[in-house]
């Protein structure tokens, strides 16, 4: 059996990085949300905010733990799967990853302990400060990672000598042209995604008539957040798109399904792109809309896929559909924000069943949009690994396809088990609700993220914390044996 090593290495990396991104995206948003709840608690003294902050902190702990274990893998996969890329770009983006470890990982690790286990041990202001620092740490982490990624998309501040990139200007390396847009787009996506989860959980409780007071607070905060950030995300996305048009026009052409540069600037609403025939089947297009969106004029021209030879084009259909999926979800969230705001204004937010019912299903949409967006931007870079400088096929490790295939199977297996277990615990926590969250801290002073995940998960399975599993469980097993 013959394996295509490039494709396999890409699938493996896409699999591990896609799994990983779900959790950081959620924890960036969730740590910020918990911080806001704690600040409200500090300001108003309302116990409701305290209760909510504790509830979401437990879900944060489980998500953070899964982000950590899946993240360690990635720091080695650059080398295992893309060694020639590591060598090519190590001088330039290696330091960005180095700074991520030094500035973000340790900041998070230090204050996470207080955030997760400090509830009964430190004053509220310190707890709030620790949560804020964790939220800042996750955002700093995003800063460096997106900086490195942006350099791969729009490299600047370097020079190539003997086939290796060398830094010339660090500011230009870190702040490459697409970086500000990508960072803003991703952070907003993280906050929006989290707001959608909070809304869905709140709506679920309201429909079931459980934890009503807490659920109303969640729904109100989430609707407010979505009402503001969803339209904002559209604006940022538009700016990001214009930036991409300037620096990576072929990517935009693939997103739009635009084959010929000379065609009028129609916006293709639907179609089935055919890479070989170089055209769309079953196309439905809106005249002038493409020009209007991309050049902000009616007859503006922009490049089509024919501006580069066929072997330098990204997989058009993937980009075309993933882009539409992302935008569709964005529009759905804008509509949700507006509908929620109108209902709130009329005082019917908590009584309108169709809205709550719809909202309760929204929890995964943000994650789907984030993955779709990353598929667009990463596949849109193909066939380049570092845009215009290094082809993906040239960045590959000299590793046999069979090795990559074998480990890919293992990754799918292990991640499947570990992550489905983790997600099962998160769902149990949500089912249990905020009331169960206020409880005594466990004995001792654990300070690592996974220990809090355990505490949270134990609550999810209905065992009382603080009781200590030791005795209780020994009794259980003894009974089990007899």
């Amino acid at each position: 059996m013959e394996f295509d090593p490039v494709l396999l290495a890409r699938i493996q990396f896409a699999f591990t990085v896609s799994f990983h991104i779900i959790f950081p995206a959620f924890t960036i948003g969730l740590s910020a949300y918990v911080t806001v709840l704690l600040m409200l608690w500090l300001k108003t003294g309302d116990e409701k905010f305290h209760r909510l902050a504790r509830f979401w902190t437990k879900i944060f702990a489980v998500s953070f733990a899964m982000g950590v274990v899946s993240g360690i893998v990635l720091s080695y996969q650059f080398g295992t799967n893309w060694s020639r890329f590591s060598e090519f770009s190590g001088n330039v983006i290696g330091p960005l990853i180095g700074y991520e470890v030094l500035t973000a990982f340790y900041l998070e690790a230090t204050f996470l302990g207080i955030m997760l286990f400090g509830w009964n041990r430190v004053p509220p202001w310190l707890l709030t400060l620790a949560s804020a620092l964790v939220a800042v740490g996750t955002a700093i982490s995003a800063f460096w990672i997106l900086s490195a990624n942006s350099w791969m998309q729009t490299p600047t501040g370097h020079e190539i000598r003997d086939g290796i990139a060398y830094p010339v200007d660090w500011i230009e390396v870190i702040f490459s042209p697409s970086f500000p847009y990508r960072l803003a787009h991703m952070l907003t996506a993280a906050y929006l995604t989290t707001a959608a989860v909070v809304l869905a959980v709140g709506a679920r409780y309201l429909l079931a008539g459980q934890h009503v007071e807490d659920a109303k607070t969640m729904v109100r905060m989430a609707v407010g957040m979505i009402f503001v950030t969803a339209p904002l995300q559209l604006v940022i996305g538009d700016l990001h798109g214009l930036n991409t048009l300037h620096h990576q026009p072929v990517k935009v052409a693939a997103m739009e399904g635009r084959w010929k540069s000379d065609d009028p600037g129609d916006f293709v609403l639907f179609g089935i792109p055919d890479q070989d025939a170089e055209r769309n089947h079953a196309e439905i297009a809106i005249p002038y809309a493409g020009s209007l969106i991309l050049t902000h004029t009616l007859d503006g021209k922009y490049p089509g896929l024919d501006s580069v030879p066929p072997d330098e084009r990204p997989p058009v259909a993937n980009l075309f559909f993933a882009f539409r999926l992302m935008v569709g979800i964005g529009l759905l969230l804008i509509a949700t924000g507006i509908a929620g705001a109108v209902l709130w204004w009329r005082g019917r937010l908590f009584e309108t069943n169709w809205f709550l019912k719809g909202a309760s299903y929204l929890w995964p949409v943000g994650f789907i949009a984030i993955l779709a967006g990353w598929f667009v931007t990463e596949q849109g870079r193909q066939p380049w690994l570092v845009y215009g400088l290094l082809k993906t096929a040239d960045g590959l490790s000299p590793v046999p396809g069979a090795s990559v295939f074998g480990t890919l199977v293992l990754f799918v297996l292990v991640y499947g088990i570990v992550f489905s277990t983790g997600i099962y615990f998160i769902n149990r926590l949500i089912t249990k609700g905020p009331l169960g969250a206020v409880a005594a801290a466990p004995a001792g002073l654990p300070s690592r993220p996974l220990s809090a995940a355990e505490e949270a998960a134990r609550e999810a399975t209905g065992k009382e914390p603080g009781q200590g599993p030791g005795k209780e469980i020994r009794d259980e097993t003894r009974e089990g044996r007899t």
Binding site: Y76, S83, S86, E87, G90, W170, V418, A443, S451, G470
Partner: protein
Amino acid sequence: MEWYLPVIWAGLIGTAVAMYVLLDGFDLGIGILFPFAKKEEERDVMMNSVAPFWDGNETWLILGGGGLWVAFPKAYAVIMPAFYLPVIGMLLALVLRGVSFEFRWVAKPGHKWWDIAFAGGSTVAAFLQGAILGGLVQGVNVVDGQYAGGAFDWLTPFSVLTGLAVVAGYALLGATWLIMRTSGPTHQMGKAFAPVLLLLVLAGMAIVSLWTPYSVERIAERWFSLPNFYFLWPVPAVTALVAILILRWLKNGHDALPFIGTVVLFLLGYAGLVISTVPYLVPPHLTFWDTAAAPESQIFVLIGTVFLLPLVLGYTAFVYWIFRGKVAPGEGYH
């Protein structure tokens, strides 16, 4: 100034790897010894004795791997593909054992599979780390700065030996950790296992010390040429002395000294390997200087490291201080 930057970075990464081996070594060792505990409560105590530390310990692995890419991208680009299978196997083993720390408690009483994942993951990770080390010492086939070997080049009788030696070594760290940090049955278990493990480790060290100079001329020359031999003979001599001291401390019932002695033993073994391979980062072809990142890149990160690494060390020390003292049976933080 360009010649000493790679040396500073080699020192930094060497330190990160040593920190990792010692710190994650004892908690992986707990996992290796896990199946030998007779009772449920003993396993609980064993796990509780390392639970607050393990993932801080593993952060050094990220620093080691990330640091290698930052400072020596060409070495990173050779080592990772050369050890593709053991590196990914190790990472997956670490994922499995890492989550076992928590899932095991949640799954109780049906936690058998997470016990197996914890013990199996720890043992596999330790073995593969040792095998990678052995493969690296033996040498990596490099042509034009790229790895030019097969998927299983790393798997040799020698690397199997170093893999087993590291399993025994981590288990020894774990056993002496149990002596130091627990009392009751697990303390006794540590005492029972430590001498046997110590002998296994010494045997491993002795075989490696004879095998490497015998099979690699460069290493023989490093150790046995004059005047090197005058300076280097104390390394094996002190190792033997420390081993005798550990045995005596074990017999006399010291709590902390066997662990500290084992740490010294590890550092001596590590020093021996460093002496054998310096200045090669990827023996026998690539040195620190061959594989170094551009000086401007090394300086850029070094500046940050100077300020941030002390902070990291301080935090690590703080966590260990918070959790000082013995873990009594039945009294865990869980």
